[in-house]
């Protein structure tokens, strides 16, 4: 029963991965390669000995930005495209539940992002080695946190795509991600406006996904100690939030009239 379910999810995931590759999503890696090559060649001269830091910053920021763009703009099309192209109907006629379909889409795009981030990681390390720097394994901690935030973004994109058109879903997802990156502003809202009730601030702070949690890039680059405990809590936060969002997406998708 469970094995069969997993098999069906895996089949949708594999198909989603193939589809994203066919849509040339991974072409962003070419841009990344050019960026890293130019950084390696030019930054040493231009930055007065700050090239290593800037290369690391650029590499990690690229993973974050490209990954977020892919998660949002491919994520919002995962469901709506299938409906528009009417390719969803024969799929659902097979022994495949809507929940399995959604999960498969999530896992498929998640895998695409994993490959994307993985190749970028190799590129970043190659650039560092080519510019005479050592391999800094602690960067993997920041990369892992970025990957978690990307998976959460995919879940949000999927939720919104089950609710509305892909354009509006993209707008909502981008707004939520940006709001999540301003979590500190939300938390300190009462410093600016005392009139806002504290419970409301607290509620908004807890409801909006806190993407700032996953931004440990600078800490890692400066060698701050990032323990396994912190990474474990980040994983639990991302997983919990993503499960809730995926649950809502499944409920919405289940109630959607697809006839």
């Amino acid at each position: 029963m469970v094995a069969g379910r997993l098999k069906r999810v895996a089949a949708v995931a594999a198909n989603t991965f193939r589809e994203t590759v066919r849509e040339r999503v991974l072409y962003n890696l070419v841009f990344f390669a050019i960026l890293m090559t130019l950084s390696g060649l030019l930054l040493g001269e231009l930055s007065i000995r700050q090239d290593e830091k800037i290369i690391k910053n650029l590499g990690l920021a690229s993973m974050d930005i490209f990954g977020t763009l892919i998660a949002v703009f491919i994520g919002v099309g995962l469901v709506s495209k299938e409906i528009e192209r009417r390719s969803l109907y024969p799929l659902l006629a097979k022994p495949l539940s809507r929940e399995e379909f959604l999960l498969g889409k999530f896992v498929g795009l998640g895998f695409t992002l994993l490959v994307n981030v993985g190749v970028m990681t190799v590129g970043l390390y190659l650039t560092l080695v080519a510019t005479g720097r050592g391999i800094d394994w602690s960067l993997l901690k920041a990369i892992y946190a970025i990957l978690l935030s990307l998976l959460l973004t995919v879940a949000l994109a999927l939720l919104f795509s089950t609710m509305t058109s892909s354009t509006l879903a993209a707008v909502f997802t981008v707004c939520t991600v940006v709001a999540g990156r301003f979590s500190d502003v939300v938390r300190n809202m009462r410093d600016v406006s005392q009139a806002v009730p504290e419970w409301l601030v607290r509620l908004v702070y807890l409801v909006v996904p806190n993407f700032l949690n996953f931004d440990i890039k600078d800490h890692v680059i400066y060698g701050d100690p990032i323990g396994g405990g912190l990474l474990a809590r980040l994983t639990i936060y991302a997983a919990s939030y993503a499960f809730v969002v995926l649950g809502l997406a499944m409920l919405r998708f289940r109630s959607r009239d697809l006839t």
Binding site: S47, I48, Q50, I54, N57, D64, Y222
Partner: protein
Amino acid sequence: MNRLLPYAFLGFVPLVPLVQGSLDRDFGQLAAQSNRLYLQTGEQVRWFCPGFEGVMAGIYWLRAVQYYGSERAFGSGTSYQNLAPLIEITNALDPRLELAYRYGALFLAEPWPNGPGKPQAGVEVLERGIRNLPEAWRIRWDLGSLYYFFLHDHEKAAAVLLRGAKIQGAPFWLESLAASMLGKGGDRATARQVWKTQYDNAPEDAIRDNALHHMQLLDALDEVDALNAAAGKFAERSGRSPRSAQELVGSGLVARVPTDPPGVAFDYDSRTGRFAIAKISKFWRPRYDQ
């Protein structure tokens, strides 16, 4: 016909670099960057890039270095107006980027035309650095040097160095530098010692180059003093100033036609009988008493 149309359009490709080259010639290929800085504070920049402060700090730092270099090389000399905000933005976006404080202060303190000549702004940058990185002794070393060389406040310079010497990991020579500054004030030997210490200990090529430049400048000033003394002797002997540097060489009071370390001949004013660093020399600055 239709099949050939795309290739006809592609035939315009060579025109793009050709026209660009011509535009560059008209506008001046080496013109300084645009002086516009739309966002003036780190807080403003932060609003546009939540979660990407680190990479933006890197980009603003590159921009500050390029801006300083382009203003120094091609600027009108009245500008450098964006240098302080660019450095402030870099510091705000990445308060732990030590070099941005150190170089930022140096850029700001350099006298015109090599910089905006704002040592007090440089002091503010370094003090900001001390607040954000209290354990960074090199920032205090730079602050002491800045007080010493640019503000000529030897007591403050020594006090800053002594505080820096107390930081764990600070080198022993900070204390001896402070003692020299307190003991001899602004004499050239102390200045040479301070620059030599920088030259011997700075890990960055640019800081070593800067220290070497200042040591050579001190050599040039010593040379000018020696030449002026020789010209004075010549005047005592012959009742008039030498007509040229060559005449002074011919008198045997100096061995050769004098030049600064890179080989630029010193200016000589036969009316006053005084030598000075040539205005075309890289060592010349308006503030020098020559």
